[in-house]
């Protein structure tokens, strides 16, 4: 996902075409990020709408990204989720709706792990800390650079590298445990 800065500049002027392009490129990644964190499809849609509304307000106020648009939009999404937690005044019980997960794509059989393992891996991510899950999602699922992830999470690149290492190590260990249990 890469956004042209000129695109966001035009979006700051509320050009419909620019906003439409922006929405098309960002909507699903933002939704997936939120869904991964709260595990509720309906609430994820609502919060995704909130993210885009906040984005419009920021654009209207002349604000925007400091480094990259990617880090900016996920930073907004992260704040929206944090506000969602604050409103509920409790930590969410993240349980992904497995019925909502699509059937395994036959093409995925060619990948490193099988579809069943992907489902297990997705479930294993629920056991990660919020920060570890953020790193896994932003860094690997959405392909953000370490620098962008550091900006989204407000950490240094070195801290993100350490989080990245620990996340992969934790996932590996969880998957090994689940494999052993099975």
């Amino acid at each position: 996902m890469s956004l042209d800065e000129d695109l966001l500049t035009r979006a700051q002027q509320f050009e419909p075409e620019a906003l439409q392009t922006l929405h098309r490129q960002l909507y699903q990644p933002v939704y997936r990020y939120i869904y991964l964190k709260i595990g509720d499809a309906n609430a994820s849609q609502d919060l995704t709408s909130d993210v885009f509304l906040r984005m419009l307000e920021a654009l209207k106020g002349g604000r925007g990204w400091q480094t990259t648009p990617n880090a900016w939009i996920f930073g907004i999404a992260r704040n929206v989720v944090a506000d969602h937690y604050r409103r509920r005044e409790r930590r969410p019980e993240v349980e992904l709706d497995e019925n909502a997960l699509p059937a395994a794509d036959p093409g995925l059989a060619q990948t490193v792990i099988a579809a069943e393992e992907q489902t297990a891996l997705l479930a294993a991510m629920e056991e990660l800390t919020d920060e570890q899950r953020d790193v896994v999602f932003l860094r690997f699922m959405e392909g953000l650079s370490i620098k962008d992830v550091a900006e989204v999470m407000g950490k240094t690149e070195g801290a993100i590298k350490a989080l990245q290492f620990r996340s992969m190590q934790a996932l590996s260990k969880i998957m090994q445990q689940k494999g052993g249990d099975a």
């Binding site: 509320f14 419909p16 906003l19 439409q20 929405h23 098309r24 909507y27 699903q28 939704y31 997936r32 869904y35 499809a41 849609q45 709408s49 885009f52 509304l53 419009l56 307000e57 209207k60 909502a100 997960l101 699509p102 794509d105 995925l108 990948t111 490193v112 792990i113 393992e117 992907q118 489902t119 891996l121 997705l122 991510m125 056991e127 990660l128 800390t129 919020d130 570890q132 896994v136 690997f140 699922m141 959405e142 392909g143 370490i146 070195g158 590298k161 350490a162 990245q164 290492f165 620990r166 992969m168 190590q169 934790a170 996932l171 590996s172 260990k173 969880i174 998957m175 090994q176 445990q177």
Partner: protein
């Protein structure tokens, strides 16, 4: 295993170099290198690196596992919000910019605006040490009347001084009028009205030879009118040689009138002006009155009233209205926030 608690301290916690190694290996993987090739690049780390890179490769596929709704379903809502916000942005840009985001600025601006407006509307008053922008000049109205020159052959001050000052000289509450004349030049009658104080009418004539000018000043006490009229010789002060005669009529604020006539020998008389000595003498002209208003270039520079050391009632008024401006600014701020 609960990993959502405190940050787990995993076994075999690697040193920083292993974190960097993983980061470098992932970069190779993202660049498109096969997993086997990446692992081959780190033979000493392959044992711990291989499972982690497998996890990385696995998580990259997870994006497909999370269903996301069609963006088109939300697009219309999004564009509608954008249109709404965009319209609001154009209509209340300054309110947003300096109201919602800078409420203090707005309040201070309102306060300053009130003070400036009051300074503009306050004539010559001192507000916090600042003079009012509209200063009261000492003269509100100045009227100049030029009477025709008299014949050089038979100069008489009486002729010139019989010009009754224009009706506009019947000014109240106070006025000062000066009429001066010379036998060979046009006479000028000037009325100066000043706020407050007494009214004074001064008539001055210079005569070139022994004359008995008829000079007098009368006053209609009821109306506060000052006028000049010729009187009998008995009321006038004769001068035996060339000189200047001045008649002064003064009406006080209480309505009483004092008159005085003085004569000055020619050696002490004020010399005639250039205009007075001009060639207009042979051609009498009708009297002409030229009222002028404050602000004319010919007016004297404005003078402000004496500065008072204390903050006067007007200053307190300004302070109060400034505070009202502050409150208005805060109200605007709250309105702007409500709109948001």
């Amino acid at each position: 295993m609960d990993i959502n608690g405190p940050q787990p301290r995993l076994e075999n916690q690697p040193p920083a170099s292993e974190e960097d190694t993983l980061a470098a290996a992932i970069e190779r993987l993202e660049a498109g290198a096969p997993l086997a090739e990446v692992l081959a690049a780190y033979p000493a780390d392959e044992a711990w690196l291989a499972p982690l890179l497998s996890m990385v490769a696995g998580t990259k596929q997870l994006q497909q596992m999370i269903p996301a709704p069609d963006p088109a379903m939300h697009l219309n809502t999004f564009l509608g919000q954008a249109q709404q916000l965009g319209a609001g942005a154009s209509g209340s840009f300054w309110l947003r910019r300096f109201g919602r985001e800078n409420p203090i600025f707005l309040a201070i601006a309102a306060f300053a605006l009130v003070i400036v407006l009051l300074l503009l509307c306050t004539t010559g008053q001192q507000i916090f040490g600042l003079p009012g922008f509209i200063a009261l000049p000492p003269a509100v109205v100045t009227i100049t009347e030029t009477s025709p020159a008299t014949s050089p052959a038979t100069p008489t001050a009486t002729d010139t001084l019989t010009n009754t000052p224009p009706a506009t000289e019947t000014a109240t509450p106070a006025s000062t009028a000066t009429q001066s004349g010379q036998s060979t030049a046009p006479l000028t009658s000037t009325l100066t009205i000043t706020p407050g104080g007494a009214s004074t009418l001064v008539l001055t004539a210079t005569v070139a030879a022994a004359q008995t000018p008829s000079l007098t000043s009368t006053q209609a006490a009821e109306s506060g009118e000052l006028a000049t009229t010729p009187t009998s010789a008995a009321d006038a002060s004769p001068i035996g040689a060339a000189g200047q005669v001045t008649a002064t009529a003064q009406i006080t604020a209480t309505g009483s009138v004092q008159t005085e006539t003085q004569t000055t020998p020619a050696s002490e008389a004020i010399p005639p002006t250039d205009d007075a000595a001009g060639g207009q003498a042979a051609t009498p002209t009708p009297p002409a009155s030229t009222p002028t208003q404050p602000g004319d270039p010919s007016d004297p520079p404005p003078e402000f009233l004496p500065v008072s050391g204390d903050i006067g009632s007007d200053s307190w008024l300004v302070l109060g209205l400034g505070l009202i401006g502050l409150v208005v600014g805060l109200i605007l701020h709250s309105v702007a926030n409500r709109r948001e």
